[in-house]
Subunit: 116 residues, 2 copies
DNA sequence: AAACTATGACGCAAATTTACGTCATAATAT
DNA sequence: ATATTATGACGTAAATTTGCGTCATAGTTT
């Protein structure tokens, strides 16, 4: 899943990067948004909602499932997909903490020169 | 930068994915954290802080710079890097909105079965 | 001017991601 | 039982990312 050198970073950094990677493709963003917009789990062809082939969407679903961001349960012939909102909330907090730290001090204003 | 099919998604989805991709490697997370921890812009060898070769770090810096998340100004012999906190705040809001939407309704509790 | 230093540009190999077609499987319908 | 349907598994080609070495350039120092 990762390149060798990844191990040299902190667990926190790796975890944030892993979750960021999950959102690093518009299809996966769209899948999560779609599951959120449905107020419930959805069974059936999610691929029909996206401009990608069914198997490609399935692959993106597997990636999100591997990170446990979504859950899938077999419901007869179809599979029922749900967001794992519990985990999403945790990830949300990680991002909040990260951005909070990053935006805490005004290192550079957008137009001004650096004050080195 | 992107695969062909990317164009089929909304600008919003693409923008979020693009920024998520910027954070999708622990080295880039570490770089942003490092620049944030310094309360000012930093000139000099950022690579010395990371477990990667100088040129590899330089490459990650270029990626962040290409997205305008960081700025670099030549200061004599060294380059002075700063966070673009203005943009970071915007990205923060995008993520906040995304996660807010995603966690708004409890689709699945972590242990329970889906209520399909 | 010559040596030295910091940094980006360039090239390359290996690993990974993306996208999709084909096949296998399992449940449903006829 | 057989046909149909939904979905994952698998294979593959193309694109991209990662990591790093080497070279080029521009500013400093002596």
């Amino acid at each position: 899943m990762t390149y060798a050198k990844t191990a040299a970073f902190t667990t926190e950094q790796q975890q944030l990067a892993r979750m960021a990677k999950a959102l690093a493709h518009p299809a996966r963003v769209a899948i999560i948004q779609f599951l959120a917009r449905q107020k419930t789990c959805i069974s059936g062809d999610i691929a029909a909602e996206l401009p990608l082939a069914r198997t490609t969407v399935s692959q993106h679903l597997q990636e999100l499932k591997a990170l446990d961001l979504i859950r899938g349960e077999i419901d007869g012939l179809t599979v029922c997909y749900c967001l794992n909102t519990e985990l999403l909330r945790q990830v949300q907090q990680q991002f909040t903490a990260f951005f909070g730290e990053a935006t805490a001090n005004a290192a550079c204003s957008p137009d001004e020169a650096c004050a080195c």
